[in-house]
Symmetry: C3
Subunit: 242 residues, 3 copies
Amino acid sequence: MALAAGRAMLMRSGVRLGTQAAARGGNGARRFMNHRVVVEPNTVPAGLDLREMCGKNPAHYAEYWRAVQEMWLKVYLSNLVLVAAINGTSPAGGCLIALSCDYRVLADNPRYRMGLNETLLGLVVPFWFKDTLVNTIGHRASERALQLGLLFPPAEALQLGMVDQVVPEDQVQSTALSVMTQWLAIPDHVRQLTKNMIRKATADHLIKHREADIQNFINFISRDSIQKSLQVYLENLKQKKH
Amino acid sequence: MALAAGRAMLMRSGVRLGTQAAARGGNGARRFMNHRVVVEPNTVPAGLDLREMCGKNPAHYAEYWRAVQEMWLKVYLSNLVLVAAINGTSPAGGCLIALSCDYRVLADNPRYRMGLNETLLGLVVPFWFKDTLVNTIGHRASERALQLGLLFPPAEALQLGMVDQVVPEDQVQSTALSVMTQWLAIPDHVRQLTKNMIRKATADHLIKHREADIQNFINFISRDSIQKSLQVYLENLKQKKH
Amino acid sequence: MALAAGRAMLMRSGVRLGTQAAARGGNGARRFMNHRVVVEPNTVPAGLDLREMCGKNPAHYAEYWRAVQEMWLKVYLSNLVLVAAINGTSPAGGCLIALSCDYRVLADNPRYRMGLNETLLGLVVPFWFKDTLVNTIGHRASERALQLGLLFPPAEALQLGMVDQVVPEDQVQSTALSVMTQWLAIPDHVRQLTKNMIRKATADHLIKHREADIQNFINFISRDSIQKSLQVYLENLKQKKH
């Protein structure tokens, strides 16, 4: 997945998950920040690095999860226009980031599927993942998608409203660019205030329950059964690589 | 309507409303509980037994309504997978129970209609009926459906998202079984936690206002005008039976 | 836009925005009240009179905005059935009033567009405009529509659920009348209680934050940049008139 983050237009293709943010300093000069969340494509099927969740101590888990929360809050409340140009499968955390953008363009390739499939990994989706999905596709569709851990092919993702457009693979970036142009035509300050007004309640829900969410993550991820299933999962991925 | 409740697969056909729950004891053995809510098909067009609302005293109404709330909370928050196999008309309370399941399969028979038609009976739908409908078909569609007391035929129920599938009448049970199989393939504990996380706020809304909701029911149902219209209604049903 | 407000059936055509309310006194006699909100079509492209927002002092803005809030609360929580018969473009405040009715019939004329286009005027939509839109078309569609200030032609408005029916222009009023007939067939007191139950939370959201919303309006509208752009806008309208 690539994020187009503007006013400056940043595009990045590939299966890596990257959030790229452009910010303008007070003097009008542009500074670019690049927050990479995830590194190795094959070890990050959940969009988050599963190795960070495996065999570590509670303090590590706490720090890691706080960083994930922070990353999401930055993306979700970003003053930038964020357009997701999706040319790969977007499971779990990868899907969350796409859902947190302002617009989603998905390549019309039936192998590319998208969804919060945590239950299939033996994980319970955090409530703010759920909130973000409900905002996008509604309550009923979210209930089914989350419990079954469904990954949707492009046609279904479009019908559900999980993405805004499905286009031929070689037009994903140009479509995202043209969407970005449309969004950037809106008076920027007013658009930012409007976005923030709409998204504030959802972000505040996490902010208010942030520590409980971290504790919840630690308790869950520390379970023997979860650790065992994550290890098996990572082993399988390693062997696929060789 | 029938509910398929599983891990154990329980199916029951007919127009009676039954909730059947299967629970496993700590030792892994299965115990089955059978909570019948409603008895006589022809006297329960609202899915709840109208005779319980007619000519009784406030203490009776309070006890009755508390039991209805309790039944709904059990169904709505059930750890079991509940699939509604609907082969009859589901008005009012019957519709509520169907909406509280995890999935709804409706027979493709235009005579089978579904909806919260309380206004047509002179009743105001309780707020948690409304919450459940809004979760399923959204706010706008609920506003119209509730005020007009609409009962939707299968095609419209499907389009609104009030049911998930409409199939020929003789395939309702097999379809429900196959849906159940899909849901039971998900790691059970994680699915339960996920379901609870999604539904908790809606259930808490009732739990928080439970006593006020009971008082509201008593005040409303005790009105002379309501009692009179319920009596006329029940008389008409009796005469239809003979 | 015309509002059909009933039990008494009131229809008014034209591009003027009028809310007309019929109330019955305790003695069963009908009294009619006529609250006009907006006067000059060409100066009220936002559905609200922009001249009230231009070159005035904070006390004036406060009084004006409180009246706008009051008008909306009356329409949104009206005990009357309100059917919007829309035969013109409904931007901003005009759209809000239509969205606050019980049903919307739009003339099938591609020149008639509808939406909350505040960002294009350099304005941030108040949170209760947003709440009303989200209730009607959902969260995701609202995010995009509000940020981009989209005005939808009839076909799109219908698909989004922003209106309930699109009919040939000469059938708008007769369709609205027939919809009104359907709504008036419902027992009135029960319908009113049901409507209030559904809408109460949204209205309470404004009532709770009413003073902050006024303060917010004053702060925003008093900015030099906003005043300048409103003046340019009004000048352009005047010149179009001549």
